[in-house]
């Protein structure tokens, strides 16, 4: 069964510092990977996704993620965080079904706090 693990429940970084949020997946076939962000009191918004091709994926708001098959990881990075990046971040893995809607499994999330 596919699963997603986000080992860090809560991370605090200083404004202007670099950020890396970890995500590990378990899936037997080609994974389709996503990062979503949830600002306080809001729904989730897609940051980026990986389906195939270049393993370094660029997303919105200056985020990027790198797919590493050998490590079963899809870590999210940003070179310099802004106070507005404080939010909860969810990694997700999807499985493409050809007979029905596909299923996306979300990780438990990492809450990011920004230190002024």
């Amino acid at each position: 069964a596919q699963s997603v693990t986000q080992p860090d429940i809560h991370i605090t970084v200083s404004e202007g510092a670099s950020l890396e949020l970890r995500c590990n997946y378990s899936y037997g076939a080609t994974p389709y990977l996503f990062w979503y962000v949830q600002s306080p009191g809001q729904g989730l918004q897609l940051l980026l996704k990986y389906f195939s091709g270049d393993t370094l994926v660029q997303g919105i708001k200056g985020f990027e993620a790198e797919f590493k098959r050998s490590q079963s990881s899809f870590n999210l990075r940003k070179p310099s965080v802004h106070w507005s990046d404080a939010a909860e971040y969810f990694c997700a893995v999807g499985r493409a079904l050809y007979s029905s809607a596909s299923k996306i499994i979300f990780g438990s999330g990492t809450r990011l706090s920004i230190r002024p």
């Binding site: 997603v4 429940i9 389709y32 009191g41 809001q42 729904g43 989730l44 918004q45 897609l46 996704k49 389906f51 969810f90 999807g94 493409a96 079904l97 050809y98 007979s99 029905s100 809607a101 596909s102 299923k103 996306i104 979300f106 990780g107 438990s108 999330g109």
Partner: protein, 117 residues
């Protein structure tokens, strides 16, 4: 475009009461989903729909029912609420398709915070 809207935003129920959560989308999306979000557990899929008149069970369907009578609306019902159903409920929608096309971006509503006493 309003995107995905959910009503109500907040609700407190007593055990055994029933209620319906309404989700509406104006993007002409085929697929709609109901998730619940609980601390430390991420989002878990309750039910989903691939089109008007069709619904299917997700990971945690027990205690919930859904209906998709109109393409733009997806209703989530709790027939007899239990404290274990205290959660934040999110509706989402996406374009349809099979295979990779069905993994299109999901657009989320702002959520409904439900407390069952």
């Amino acid at each position: 475009n309003a995107g995905v809207t959910q009503t109500p935003k907040f609700r407190v129920l007593k055990t055994g009461q029933s209620m319906t959560l309404l989700c509406a989308q104006d993007m002409n999306h085929e697929y709609m989903y109901w998730y619940r979000q609980d601390p430390g557990m991420g989002l878990r899929l309750i039910h989903y729909s691939v089109g008007e008149g069709t619904t299917a069970k997700g990971e945690v369907p027990d205690g919930y029912n859904v209906s998709r009578l109109k393409k733009q609306n997806f209703l989530l019902g709790l027939e007899s609420a239990a404290p274990s159903q205290t959660s934040v409920y999110f509706c989402a929608s996406s374009y349809g398709g099979l295979g990779l096309a069905s993994l299109n971006e999901q657009f989320f509503g702002p959520g409904t915070r439900l407390t069952v006493l």
